[in-house]
Symmetry: C2
Subunit: 92 residues, 2 copies
């Protein structure tokens, strides 16, 4: 589960099999404790939503803060980049 | 929180400030539900542990299954690659 702001979204598209698909980025900013020190964290997380989750994401406006649940996977067999696959988003 | 196998570890080193530091990879494999279908997920997640967490990780053998807790951050200001910063690992 991770909180972030929806930045950059390709909007609702469809896979060749006709499943709804949204590719977007989630900008996460927080303070975290690490080795006894407070630190700021910011990262842009590549994210992908399919099916019902894609419909949810497509209704979210750019700049909106959301809480996202999902799982990490590699972008493809050959590309090791991590992509957050979204199961569920809720507005914050 | 994510489960995975510790693969590749540089072993215990120290930051210039003398804080323990371990850079390693966590290989995550699971089945996930996505858009109503079961899918297999495998990804190698770059991971970093500092301080006490680094001591914990340094005692874990390669190939060991662990449960890791932490947060995602960018590798650096300029490199957007995601790195999992470890707060805590437990053996599985």
């Amino acid at each position: 589960m991770i909180d972030g702001e929806v930045v950059e979204s390709e909007g609702l598209r469809y896979t060749p099999a006709g499943i709804e698909r949204v590719v977007f980025k989630l900008r996460h900013t927080s303070m975290q404790q690490e080795a006894g020190m407070q630190r700021q964290v910011q990262c842009d997380i590549p994210a992908l939503a399919l099916g019902e989750a894609a419909q949810q994401v497509s209704r979210v406006q750019l700049g909106q803060q959301v809480r996202a649940e999902g799982f990490l996977a590699q972008r493809s067999l050959k590309i090791a980049q991590l992509v957050l696959h979204i199961d569920n988003v809720t507005l914050k």
